[in-house]
């Protein structure tokens, strides 16, 4: 029996749709869905005589993303035409960036087991325009819709630095958080605003010799789950294939496979990487872009703290768990709410609980994001402080938060209105305790007996007091009074 060691190696090609109002080179509005071919103009229809003009916002957003990915931003960048014929590409060339992309040589850090970060190198990131869509319905024809044609895309290429499906997934989630934080993209995989194409192969050591299996590019991945599963699937498929055939990587034997989510397998789409001849050359219709260092620094100053840095900081600075920190930093608005509430004096763990339990539950129920819930940091801090001061019990936070989404009243006012303020006045509570003692002689005896019934009887009395106070008694103080009574 021979020994086989196997490592899976994955690099990613990623397309991120930029969050602009209009297309890359024309004024057509970008909206999801819409009547087929309704958002098309002479430019994105590729009509003769039409000319492209760059969208400033698209350029700024992509530079921000490049900076967030620690890339070197070029001082000179230009546009190239990439030629291939396809019905969803009206000019039969795509405006893209070939030898002088606007950014190169970056990295992204992804969280791996227990608080560590792994650095994945970014080869390059460039801007390009998306194609339209070919729709294959029944019949012997295909339909072409150009609404998507000309949408600004950021293409990010990573080095093959990932070694498991879970790392690929972690990178995808991390990248999504980053671009969403920066407002660069909505980055929904389901809507196709963020598309991942992993390039997967195996490095195998068999009997002391290293082999590399042919690279597979996987397409049709529209969820994080599909991304992870497809990589894992390729891992085992390629190992099996290697053991059966011994096939290794050569020039040109890269294949393309599509993910079949229903069956959980990849299906061969194209056997060999065809010798594409894209005939790249500088687009004469567009001027180059020159970026000054000042402008780049100005862009850099617009960056915010990135989610993973935030996550690590929350663990260190606020002593939150890894999990809690992850929940709070998943969305920028949530993290900002948390930080705002802490700044206004909310105890971090308390604020975290209010947001991550009550808050996110409310958001889920409403089918909205936290940002859309009309909850501000001041309100969250006020609730946290009331819990901390025993003015309300922790369970009341949810009810107050829910009310806050509907009114502009203060936390205190809501708590009073809903009768959630706990009775902490010792003399008032003592009266209640005395009444309960008088009404329940049996239980009092049980407590005093000190026997095994004593603990249960004490709890029974406690419950009776709470009942009399209609749930608004501060349990800590009641318990203190009871202790005093029975010594």
């Amino acid at each position: 029996m021979s020994s086989v060691e196997c490592k899976v190696v994955i690099g990613l090609e990623i397309h991120v749709q930029l969050l602009t109002k209009t297309k890359m080179f024309c004024g057509c509005a970008l909206e999801f869905a819409g009547e087929p071919n309704s958002r098309v103009c002479p430019v994105c229809l590729g009509l003769p005589g039409s000319l492209p003009v760059m969208n400033r916002k698209a350029f700024e957003l992509s530079v921000m993303a490049g900076l967030a990915l620690n890339c070197k931003i070029a001082n000179f960048t230009k546009w190239d035409r990439k030629s291939y014929y396809y019905p969803d590409l009206p000019k039969n060339y795509q405006i893209s960036q070939y030898d002088l992309p606007f950014s190169e040589h970056g990295f992204i850090e992804i969280p791996v087991n227990s608080g560590d970060a792994k650095r994945i190198r970014i080869t390059r990131a460039h801007l390009e325009e998306d194609a339209g869509k070919n729709v294959h319905t029944a019949g012997n024809f295909s339909q072409v819709d150009l609404n998507r044609a000309g949408t600004p895309l950021l293409e990010i290429v990573t080095e093959p630095d990932m070694n498991s499906g879970s790392e690929v997934r972690a990178l995808a989630i991390e990248l999504q958080r980053i671009v969403q934080y920066l407002g660069v993209s909505e980055a929904s995989m389901q809507k196709g605003q963020m598309r991942f194409e992993p390039n997967v192969n195996l490095h195998i050591i068999k009997d002391g010799k290293e082999y590399k299996t042919p690279i597979t590019e996987v397409k049709n991945l529209n969820s994080f789950r599909a991304l992870e599963e497809s990589v894992n699937y390729e891992h085992s498929r390629q190992l099996e294939e290697f053991l059966a055939t011994g096939k290794t990587m050569e020039m040109g034997n890269k294949s393309t496979r599509g993910w079949d989510a229903d069956r959980g397998v990849t299906v061969l789409q194209r056997e060999k990487e065809e010798a594409h001849d894209y005939r790249y050359f500088p687009d004469p219709d567009l001027l180059p872009v020159k970026l000054t260092d000042e402008w780049i620094e100005d862009m850099r100053s617009k960056l915010c703290e990135l989610p993973l840095q935030k996550q690590f900081r929350y663990v260190k600075e606020f002593k939150l768990s890894e999990y809690d920190a992850g929940v709070l930093t998943a969305e920028r608005a949530v993290a900002e709410l948390f930080e705002g509430a802490v700044e206004q004096g909310g105890e971090p763990k308390r604020v975290c609980n209010i947001i991550s339990q009550a808050g996110l539950k409310l958001a889920n129920e409403a089918g909205r994001s936290m940002a859309e819930l009309n909850i501000d940091a001041e309100g969250v801090a006020a609730i946290a402080k009331m819990v901390e001061a025993n003015e309300i019990n922790a369970g009341a936070a949810g009810a107050i938060l829910a009310e806050m989404t509907k009114t502009d009243k203060s936390a205190k006012a809501i708590a009073e209105e809903l009768n959630l303020i706990q009775k902490s006045d010792a003399s008032e509570l003592e009266g209640l305790v005395d009444a309960v003692i008088a009404e329940n002689p049996q239980a009092v005896d049980d407590v005093k007996s000190g026997g095994k019934k004593s603990k249960a009887a004490r709890g029974f009395l406690m419950g009776k007091v709470m009942q009399k106070a209609k749930g608004q008694a501060n349990p800590k103080i009641v318990s203190q009074i009871l202790a005093k009574k029975f010594g």
Partner: protein, 491 residues
Amino acid sequence: MSDELLSLSCRKLTELIRRGEVSSRKAVEAVFSSIEKTEPVVGAYLSTFIDESLERADEIDSKIAAGKKVGKLAGLPIAVKDNMCTTFGATTCGSKILENFHAPYNAAVIERLLAEDAVIVGKLNMDEFAMGSSTENSGLKKTVNPWDVNRVPGGSSGGSAAAVASGMCMAALGSDTGGSIRQPASFCGVVGLKPTYGRVSRYGLVAYGSSLDQIGPLTRDVADAGLMMNVIAGHDDNDSTSVNEKIAPVPDYLENIEKGIEGLTIGVAPQFHAGADVEVLSAIEDAIEVYKGLGAKVVEIDMPHIDYSVAAYYVIATAEASSNLARFDGVHYGHRTAKPEDYIEVYSKSRAEAFGTEVKRRIMLGTYALSSGYYDAYYLKALKVRSLIRSDFTGAFEKCDCIMTPVSPTTAFKIGENIDDPLKMYLSDIYTIGVNLAGIPGISIPCGFDGNDLPVGLQILTPAFTESKLLRIARMFESCTEFHKRRPQKV
């Protein structure tokens, strides 16, 4: 009466129209009666819009009657080369592939003409996709030279030059990628101006070589070219390569046009005279003598890289064209083959059926120059040679105000004479092509006739964005010669 109207300059005619002394309708009717008479022989037009033109003329006339302000081209019957998109009529580029193409938008220059109250009477024949020097490559029509119907009008703006020369419009727009305005202007004895690259918007001009193409006027005299420039020059937000007016302000091209240039220095380069016919050369030399008589000084300049301009041009222009013309594929517009087996055949058969031979040849050449393994040897090399050619001009303009050359080595050649030898045809562009590679302006003005009574054109070149000076220099010659007043009598 109508012939009289048509012999006026654009400036004079629009002035009479504006003053209400002549109606725009009269001018338009005169042009259409000339078209009726001459077009069957010359064949300059691919489409004409008589009803729409008369309607528009009436609108302008009533604006004038009502005392409203009218534009710089008020009421003038003008025609445009059929590679400029118009929402009226078809935009064919002289190609079968666009025979039925109706643009849903107007080119920037069309909008500018209309905004200045011009009447666009029709669209003019051209070499298919502006690829050619004789208009013989039109896929739709044959155009002849009004001076000799057995000869070509030049190209690719052959329809524009022939129509202006034969009085079938008051002025026309053409486009120039390697001489396509200047050479037909020279062959037909009219004025043709190629502005600086970036001076006139290319938005809506069907692209041939995007880094070389430029729209310009063809007119009967130099000042009319200035009038047209006053309308078409300027920045356009839809064309990234149209220059910001803060960088290059647009002057009034008519303002100093009669002033001439004191102490003019003319550059003459031996490389620009090599290979030209004796009669052409002698007309150019005579013209330079006229300038000397006006006080100009002549200096010899060296243009060592001009000899390589045809080589560089035919790589760069065809490379860009191969990409620009990829969109004509039978999917979204234009000709589609009748029964495609699959979608690949939609491309390959539609294109093979509808493109003419010269277009195919240039697409093939350009594709080859960009293809993997050849890019550096051809395309990149050509861009470097282009750099050297531009330096030649930059260096030359340090020694002179303008350069004077023939427009073409010959006068109008016979129909069919060069059609079988593409290389020979390409080489006839030798004097005009460098100008496009360098991006500078150039003008062709009538400067004499050969023994066959065919017009000879003088080419004058000045530095980028100095069209105003270029027009003044051209006008110096015109104001003391009569060549521009001669009209062809043979049609």
